[in-house]
């Protein structure tokens, strides 16, 4: 059965790219998208996905805050941060907030799959 994923990023281009990578792999199914942190939390609660890919810098509510909120409702949520280059400090903050791993843009399909596979292997 495919692993259900929620993709969060304020850029449609990014969401499309991640959706394509995950869908082409065959083992993942993107069940929803969100374009800011507020939406991310709402969709998470609606859809209860197995995994979330979370952009960091977004309007309304940023990725780190959204991560915190989701984890406060479900401490075992699997969230992978998607960061742009040069945001190491923010990624570390996300990890401290509870994110399980991260990928750096621009990413290659192999990198993305390697990380999400590893995150879900642990649980």
């Amino acid at each position: 059965m495919a692993i259900r994923v929620l993709v969060v990023d304020d850029a449609l281009y990014m969401r499309t790219m991640i959706r394509d990578i995950l869908t082409n792999c065959g083992r993942y199914e993107v069940v929803g998208e969100a374009s800011n942190g507020r939406e991310a939390v709402e969709r998470y609660l609606e859809l209860k996905p197995d995994l979330v890919t979370m952009d960091i810098v977004m309007p309304e509510l940023d990725g780190i805050e959204a991560t915190r909120e989701i984890l406060s409702r479900n401490p075992s949520a699997a969230i992978v941060m998607c960061s742009a280059l040069g945001q190491e400090a923010l990624v570390i903050e996300s990890i401290t907030a509870g994110a399980k791993d991260f990928i750096v843009k621009p990413f290659t399909p192999d990198k993305v799959i390697k990380v999400v596979d590893n995150v879900l292997k642990g649980s």
């Binding site: 406060s72 400090a89 990624v91 570390i92 990890i95 401290t96 791993d101 991260f102 292997k121």
Partner: protein
Amino acid sequence: MDMSRYLDLFVSEARQHLQEAEQEIGKLATPGTAPAAEPLNNLFRHFHSLKGMAASMGFAAISTLSHAVEDLFDEIREDVTRASARGLAELVLEACDTLSGMVQSAADGATSFPAQDDLIAKVKAQIAAFKGAGGSPEGSAAAARTAPASAPPPAATAGTAKPPERPASVFRCRLQVDPEAELPGARAALVLRRLESVGTVLTSTPALADLAAGRFDGTLTVLLSSPEPRGRIAAAVEELLDVSSYGITEEILPTEMSERKGAGVKEAEPSLPSTIRIPTASLDHFLDTLGELITWRGSLGAAVRSKDLAAAATSHERLSRAVDRLREEVMAIRLLPFEHIVPQLNLGVRALTRQTGKKVALQISGTDVALDRAVLEEIVDPLNHLLRNAVDHGIEGPAERMALGKEPTGRLTLAVTRSGDRVGIRLEDDGRGMDGGRILATAIREGFVTPEEGEALSPQEILMLTTIPGFSTAEKTTEISGRGVGMDVVRTRIEKLDGRMWFETRVGVGLIVTLDLPLTVAVIDAFIVESGGSTFAVPSSVAMRTQLVSARSLRETRNGLFLEEASTLVPALRCDDALNLSAGRRPLPFRFPVLMFLDGATRTALAVDAIRERRELVVKPLGSPLDHLREFSGAALLDDGRIVLILDLPNLAHAAAGA
């Protein structure tokens, strides 16, 4: 294996956890604030870490108590409204206090501690109450009577469902993050998180803050305390991406330690950290300033060699400015906010209110005023004394207060303020106050003052009689309303720091004790004087003025030595006589220097043979036994390596008068 290294680490981290826990509890206990997940998670984390660290050090009693409180917060986290349960904050604070005492014992060398069965039973009863009755704080009576060792009653599970904890070991984990990895610092952060899930990270190099600041060369070293076997920890590391190599070795701790002290748990007397953390920016400033010092030293040297006075003067001026700047930077590092000693003060008051059954609300303000660490360390005991006196002797019991029309809870406020290079600490209570009349009567009766002297005393001076050594003992036996034992010690300590204290009071209304302290004790501006063949230093803050006077204006009378000034007589003393330097005593020259100072409110003159110069000195406190010499407030080194003693002029005058 060097246990002491781990002990220091354990003690300082344990104290940090307990301090932070206390702050979080303060947030919880504030009425009107909605209970929130974050403080509860933090509190859980603090006791969880403490449990792990104590277990790996072999301190079973500390670990067990911490474990109980950890379980308590685990239970509370399930339903945040439980945080406002009545009596919860007091229970947790009691646990914190007990743990602080045990940590202090550990720091002093104890390796076993008395079991805290009663306290643990109380905590478990609270847990049972949350589990069973769905939040009622009083809990089932059956659970409360259960001692931890006996079988649990059917209604409460009180944590016995968890498997017993294995003793924890300390592992040294060294990991190499793949150099090709993106965001290696973030990878390292993930490693830390993973390790935290199988144990407790004692230290990590680099620390998380360094990783966040981008300081990471690829190697992460972690000291991890964990009950898990090495294999399990290795498996956890294997799961991580981008770790190119790792090594995990178990640090073998000795299983036997000779017991050096008894296992009594004392009241915690924590001291200030002996290492400090400073922002790396400060070090950079030092380096910059050092660079300037080197540059201008070079210019000065060149100017001197080429005998160019103008250039030398410029270089010297630049050098002076750089030295001033460096001094400010170093002094700034020595400053610690008053907040550092607040937990100890709170603890002392809490313990005493429990013992005496009085109700006291302590409010401390100005906690971010920063003082020199040396000053801060010195005033902890005097402040504790003063606070305890207020609770013990000053503030009345609730019944008595209500009968007097006061609120049953006594008010005790401590306010810290800074004004220029002095710090003021004002301690005010709304208790009994001090009765000057009765104090004077006691002093006369015990022979500390004659009735005639008593007549001449100002109200302020009468209150200060309570600080005469021996007064408090006399006073206690006659049960006069006033202060208890220790006021002479408080005054001595304060004055040793070049500070002053005084009282203001209204009988039945309350007492205000004010302390005036220097911001730093480290450096003073002083006159270097000679007298009786020896050299001394006089702080310029004490000497209001220096002047040359003629030998004829010195008058020897029945009442002592006086200096004729305009048309008045000013009390005077010769430095060499006051210090009994008869060997080097010479007749005063035709014109000799005096330093004018204030002894209490009286202008007094100190006659010396010569005033050599005025300069800055780095003060070193006199250690034992020299610190008993009240005539000296410290010592300093001169450029040529000579030691000069720093004179305490008011005390010198009293000594001379007494002789």
